[in-house]
Symmetry: D2
């Protein structure tokens, strides 16, 4: 590590934090990008030392480490936990490995970032939440990577809701639509088998959507009713047709602790939608709308600040690139839009700031667990024809 990438860290810390990332494919690349850039945009948070990238294939992970800018690579995540130079473990491995790695890392005194969803089932998530609660007592922090909380437009939305700008939220419409499985001939992958992926659109897409509900409304989901559907039951495998055992799409109606009703729809077969996380919130005094495919814009409709003149009321397309918008001051002048990957850099900054000031990062594992319980509730309801299922919220760590 040369001077060139060692940041002087923020006011709270002297030495940079040594980071290890586990996983080097899509998410590993995105998280590496965040660690590489966070110091350049957030000079006041603790600096990072990009220590080691972990993966199973020695050649592959070594090449990735060089490409993404890591000091070293390693093939065994356990060995990394023994290193003093590593203070933060960032888990981008497949979901069924999250619990084991995270619990071990926390036990080893490492701060932990886990890519969403927190786990593949509620039981694992509960164990992780307990481990995180215990670690917190020892000053060891943890976070789950719901990166869309760091989209400036969504962070602004949360702020506007919290400030009451749209009054009491009554209806939320959340959908997350993709289309990469539209074609019947899209090939079989591990993502389409329940034993490896846990679930389909539920874990992958609905987890983000449910987390946004909690984030934006500041409320808990109290009950759900849901439906799952696999439209293409068989897909070409390497040796012929194979059974798809996870859902292509899911629908749910959710009730929240604050009296709102939310509709949820997620799909991987929505032709023409590439990465459309769409959120609409309707309150007693206004509404907000967002689409991840156009992530720099928040549509704001409110009646409060319009000088009483309804004649020009209409949803305003707010380009969230002003210095006063969340996260934007770190970046570029007005109108110079951010992309998808910047959300991970913002996330890294938030995590580092929390560690630097010894405060609990948000969203923590308890937030990840809350999402998991809602997802499980949707699955349970779907299994029984859509009947309402209550969601339990008493924390296992209590």
């Amino acid at each position: 590590m040369t001077e060139s990438t060692r940041h002087p860290a923020g006011p709270n810390t002297g030495e940079p934090l040594g980071v290890a990332v586990v996983g080097y494919s899509f998410m590993g690349k995105a998280h590496s990008n965040a660690w590489r850039n966070v110091g350049a945009f957030y000079p006041d948070v603790p600096g990072v030392d990009r220590r080691v990238l972990v993966g199973r294939d020695p050649d592959g992970v070594a090449a990735a480490a060089r490409q993404f800018g890591w000091a070293e690579s390693a093939t065994d995540w356990r060995s990394v936990l023994d290193r003093d130079a590593v203070q933060l473990v960032d888990i981008c491995a497949p979901g069924h490995l999250h619990a084991e790695i995270a619990i071990a890392a926390l036990a080893a005194g490492k701060h932990v970032l886990v890519e969403k969803p927190l786990a593949n089932d509620v039981a694992q998530a509960e164990q992780m939440e307990r481990a995180a609660a215990e670690a917190r007592e020892r000053g060891v922090h943890s976070m789950v990577g719901f990166n869309y909380r760091r989209v400036p437009a969504l962070a602004l939305a949360r702020r506007l809701v919290a400030e009451g700008r749209i009054g009491t939220v009554r209806q939320a419409r959340v959908s997350y639509l993709q289309d990469w499985l539209t074609d019947d001939d899209a090939p079989m992958t591990w993502r389409l088998r329940q034993e490896t992926a846990g679930s389909g659109a539920i874990g992958d897409l609905a987890s983000h959507a449910v987390d946004q509900l909690g984030f934006l409304l500041g409320q808990e989901v109290t009950s759900v009713s849901g439906t799952l559907r696999t439209f293409v039951g068989e897909r070409p495998g390497e040796k012929g047709p194979e059974q798809v055992t996870v859902e292509d799409a899911a629908w749910a109606t959710l009730h929240t602790s604050g009296g709102a009703v939310a509709s949820l729809e997620v799909s991987r077969v929505a032709a023409g939608r590439k990465n459309a996380l769409q959120i609409e919130l309707y309150g007693s005094q206004g509404s907000l709308a967002f689409d991840l495919e156009s992530l720099n814009t928040l549509r704001v409709y409110d009646t409060a600040d319009r000088s009483g003149t309804s004649i020009t009321a209409g949803p305003a397309a707010v380009l969230t690139t002003e210095a006063e918008h969340p996260y934007v001051e770190a970046w570029w002048p007005p109108g110079h839009v951010l992309g998808w990957d910047h959300t991970f850099t913002n996330q890294a900054a938030d995590l580092l700031a929390a560690i630097g000031s010894d405060t609990a990062p948000v969203p923590g594992f308890s937030d990840g667990l809350a999402v998991q319980r809602v997802l499980a509730g949707i699955q349970e309801s779907a299994a029984t024809g859509g009947a309402e299922v209550k969601i339990q919220h008493s924390p296992p760590s209590a």
Copy 2:
């Protein structure tokens, strides 16, 4: 009636049809507009003689008749059924009167158009459907006024689905959002009492949405699960607060005979949405999207006609104002957009053409009944916590 408004009618008929409209407020005005204009744009359908406008207040209906261009006014709809000069009765009265008037008119040998929804409950709708089936034997025709079937963009959507342009439809997203009840202080009206209105957003908005599903997909709804919610339970009446006894909003998941799943959401408290009937259809080879607030546009995404070049694939904003688009040849050159009320004129033309050629108008009372059964299914499911309810489709007229 002078030459100036008597059209020479189409090839099928000599004398113009005498029309009576029952009701002269919002819908009566819209239907009057259609009867006044249909001949000017559709010279080949039977002509109409705007004979009589019916309403309870003698002065009010007389003034409306003069304003809207009717030869006469009357206060008793029964008396109108005795007139030989009236061959078509168009019912724009409140929903609880539909059955009685329609059945009497059919019995009197008058063709009947009933504004949507067909009735306030399934029992009435079944009676009406039976009456219509019997009348049909006598050459007397009937139609229910789901006018949005006559939006060129939606008629185009139906045609594209039928032609297989988007493959097999898997997911439909239908919402109808308005905001006139957003404010807690919006006053109490008869529309917010169950005894007069039958239901709230369900009958008013979901009826259109459900009809579109049947229209666009050409399929029946086989089961539903639903949720209803009244957000503002009490509103200012003339003598103090009154209880609101109908729903502000409703949600449902619907399964169709062709294997599609549809989500439905309707609301009168969706701040910033004025008349947003939004429809998205996702098929195995493409998708379609529509918003009634921008009703001249259909968004079309398909992979079939793109010469194999995915590099320019994207939803196309089709301005449905070309002569080849449904209904448009009757109107204006490309780019000269239509408005909401033109759908009623198109509807009138379709009804007259059907009568002129002695073929059953579409949608008939059986279609209206099918919608009613789905609405009732949503209410039943909602009453039992969202459990799935099967929809019965064997026609009562059988």
Copy 3:
């Protein structure tokens, strides 16, 4: 004329005005539609008696008269001027006939509506303006049919500008783009010959654009520089290729009396644009944007009424369908959008109201003349390589 279409007229008049329309193709159809409907939506303006439709082909005009709802047809416009039953002559004939008919009609004491542009050249327009000024002395009124002044969104824009909501207007961007001549093989027509059409995109499209500038800003154009271009110089005629002698497109930069600069671009070869009159106004405190292909929406950006919170500043998409919006009270409830043809009905209402109250209709022939002078200035500038040309505004009637 029966009771059914004779309106009781507004407070100012007893008998309905007898109307004659000259021309029965596209514009004749649109104007007929307006006269047929104006009373139904504007009961308080003088009523109309749709007396006679005039055209050259006896059979064609007779059929059109029946279809569009006129009491009679005629083939000689001069004969119509002799009739006492006609008090208003609406000229939808080709542009080179405007001056002769209008001047004769005014001389005969008939109120006159002339479809835009007022004339094919400045000299004719000046004669017409003088005739109109003289007639006005005798209580005879005249108007030029710039119907887009009656789009609610544009009337709202004018009001917002006049009220200072966007401060001082500095820049205006006005374009009017169509694509019906995009194809090289689009056939030759009289519209593409200078001797019959006067000009191409200038007279047809730029006239609307220039009129909007005057309307919205309340300012005069003081100088222009311009460019014309014919991209397809030859088109297939009936007997082989023929020379196109009018421009396909035009560009201009205009300076106004209030210090604003406007850019203008009009085209008939803008592939994919059907009827895109697009207007953007940038002021010292906000901006407005409009597109005729989506004519119910005005985009409003202002800083004044935003409670000082720039954090939610953004262009608001105002759906101009509220009762407080211009013209809308006559029509439908919020969200029930208007179409292109409703602008003519609004125009007819404005004209009738002006006649009924004996006040000068707006825009008058002097406004039409002002537009004509700007168009001539663009042509003059284009002929000399784009050099600035001053626009003369002293009225010829003075």
Copy 4:
């Protein structure tokens, strides 16, 4: 430089290129970001050694170097030219310094990247172009930083035009609108004085717009007519009001070597527009449209690939995030949008690839000079009331 940031470079090179950036404010930050990330996304181009960041203030540049990840900082750009470890000089200093630094760097055998515009006037640009041509003989390369050529949507647009997908381009509409000077009280800066900034909206914004014309059409501008305007002539300085000596906005009509006509409009007082580089191209068989505020989308309208069915013709909103789209394979899966700063990373990759393969980078200084001549032509035309000015294109290096 450790292993962690030294990339194995592409097939063409062994050692990484040492890079120096001159300037560390807005552009210096953006370029630093590009050099920090290029290797992580483009492993096959030559690697870079982020050697030295240059600025006048020793403390400021040292802090920036640490923050942005440079090995060292320096205050004298001349000293950097002596270093063997530096092979590429990237000039982000103010425009009036471009020529001196670039010419010296090229003379010292360094590859050069110059931020746009190439220079403040044509004379400087010509000198630079000659220096670049001479250096090229010695294998020393140079490029001008028109980074918007690296927006995937615009690179796709260029490809579609080149492939003839929209036929012959006839009309181009290019505008670049910002609003940071809308407020009369926005303070005086060096950017608003001619002696320091050279020009206002012309050099800053029109340079991008004019470069895009050349890039997208593959044609030269042959003549222009233009207008300049300063709306706010005086702004608050530190010691009272000061004179603004550059234009707030500019308009031009341009003619190209291929027979197209382009309109150009740039402004810094367009309230509500933050960074709106908007481009529309209309060809004989289709059209394209782009807006930098929504930079992942290209709107494509063509008639060629639509299987002859005009019924679904409409501008398609192509989300340019597919692997087949230009530059995208280096980044993320479909629907994961890029931001403004990614264009600089793409630019760095293109430059490195050109250097690695010893081919001339594009756009070269001759392209920058061509833009400069057009800008000068606009200024000259504006000074003479908008008369047409021919643009000279014979290269000074010939």
